[in-house]
């Protein structure tokens, strides 16, 4: 099952894929998907993100293999749904997308082993976790000014049930910017795979329903500019569309 959360006709709804470009709302209505405002497909609790979790991307950014997973947390202010807009500040010189498999936890998980880790997964969605590298500092890097800006983490369109994804460690990822392919990879190239991440994290923090793990991005990140349409896509999970916009769309002067 593929589930979405959308705003339509004055209320927020749960919806499923009715096929043919239509959504079926929980109350039975059929809606053209363009008529709905797409929200992140679940209500997030703790948002966990991985840095440098693909060997090729770590090499691209000139990092050595780390001793343990590079984990940081994000706030709900960062989230935006499918077909949302993300602001590129006018003083930025390098803002890039990151196509990531997002793993949504379904029930409390404490000290879970790799062998049983998938039992705790509710499903999967696509994340586009933008970074603005101009703001990187070497303190708790990547610092939140880079990774926790308003609307800089797109999630969606669908939460796809775990049962519908037989092998999440063998999914093609792809990003296009204005239709041109700029990033391609496969989840099989993760340094710490999904069961390892759940084992690692649940070893010191109890995960719970609604927690989400953004599992990192492969190589192929390029600068994006206002007006660019960025589509991050994962095989069998979804195709997440986001548009980069400038400061003027947010009532800010274009000079900072």
């Amino acid at each position: 099952m593929k589930r979405a959360r959308v705003a339509y006709s004055g209320a927020v709804h749960e919806a499923t894929d009715a096929g043919g470009g239509e959504l079926r709302l929980a109350d039975g209505r059929l809606v053209r998907e363009q008529m709905a405002v797409w929200l992140p497909p679940f209500r997030p609790r703790t948002i966990i993100a991985l840095g440098l979790n693909y060997a090729d991307h770590a090499k691209e950014l000139a990092f050595n293999a780390q001793e343990e997973p590079l984990v940081f947390l994000k706030g709900p202010n960062a989230l935006v749904g499918h077909r949302g807009e993300t602001r590129r500040p006018s003083d930025a010189t390098f803002m890039h997308y990151e196509c990531e498999l997002a793993v949504v936890i379904g029930k409390p998980a404490r000290r879970v082993s790799r062998a049983t880790a998938y039992d705790y997964v509710a499903g999967y969605t696509v994340a586009n976790d933008y970074a603005i590298r101009d703001y990187l500092e070497n303190w708790y890097r990547p610092n939140l000014r880079v990774k926790n800006r308003d609307g800089c983490t797109a999630l969606g369109p669908w939460l796809v049930d775990r049962a519908d994804v037989p092998d999440p460690m063998r999914l093609a990822l792809r990003t296009t910017v204005n239709g041109k392919v700029t990033q391609e990879g496969n989840t099989r190239d993760m340094i710490s795979d999904v069961p390892s991440l759940i084992e690692y994290l649940s070893g010191f923090m109890t995960l719970d329903a609604g927690d989400v793990i953004l599992t990192g991005t492969p190589e192929g990140v390029v600068n994006v500019m206002p007006g660019d349409e960025v589509v991050t896509e994962i095989e069998g999970i979804g195709r997440l569309v986001n548009t980069v916009v400038g400061d003027e769309a947010f009532g800010r002067s274009t000079r900072q």
């Binding site: 609790r45 940081f72 070497n138 303190w139």
Partner: protein
């Protein structure tokens, strides 16, 4: 817990003494420069416990750092607010213990060391903003088993409460119910399983928790 925050943010090195304690290291690798913008981190929901609840001490550490912090509870949406108007967005204040496993490197986010279950006791009461005329002149004290182990004051912040809210909301919106800690003073006292820690902030309150060996008492 008397209230659950929406999101709880901490800030690194916001006491002048904490920054000064690093000395020349701030200019050397891996840091290469002192922090420019506020360096934030999140204490997630699994870390939150109430006044009196036990703080679990992992079996592989001898003691934990007790991080005495003023918690600023946001009352209404704060996006790009000025320092002058920042406190208009504050509902009140509470006492928070930003517990950490001791560590010396601030280069990478330290989720494993700061975000374990029970690592963020939060005070039972929120004191209304109007009852705290100046959040930047509050004495902070930490007691371990009743012995005074640390004294400092929010007068020593690098960024005052107002300034911090302004500089944070330049790049991210704070929402009603979010809590922003204004930092932890240098030389955070250590406490072991079996001890009790109490944090007092004048005019805001007192937060007291026992420490227990992980796996017991929970």
């Amino acid at each position: 817990m008397s209230f659950a925050p929406a999101t709880l943010y901490g800030v690194l090195l916001n006491y002048r003494g904490a920054l000064a304690a690093l000395g020349e290291a701030v200019n050397k690798p891996p840091y290469k420069a002192p922090p420019k913008a506020p360096v934030l981190y999140i204490k997630p929901a699994n870390t939150w416990i109430g006044d009196g609840a036990p703080i679990p001490v992992p079996s592989d550490v001898e003691a934990l750092q007790m991080g005495a912090a003023l918690g600023v509870v946001i009352g209404r949406t704060a996006c790009r607010v000025s320092a002058e108007s920042a406190l208009d967005h504050v509902a009140g204040y509470t006492v928070v213990n930003d517990v950490s496993m001791p560590h010396d490197s601030y280069y990478r986010p330290s989720v494993r060391l700061k975000c374990r279950d029970g690592f963020c006791p939060i005070g039972a009461t929120i004191v209304e903003r109007a009852r705290v005329p100046n959040p930047d002149a509050l004495a902070v004290r930490v007691f371990v088993d009743g012995v005074l182990r640390q004294q400092n004051t929010t007068a020593n912040l690098v960024r005052s409460t107002r300034r911090l809210i302004a500089d944070v909301t330049e790049f991210m919106t704070l929402a009603a119910g979010d809590v922003l800690l204004t930092g932890v003073p240098e030389n955070a006292p250590l406490a072991r399983a079996g001890q009790r820690v109490a944090i007092e902030i004048d005019g805001v309150g007192r937060l007291e928790n026992p420490l227990v060996a992980e796996g017991r008492g929970r």
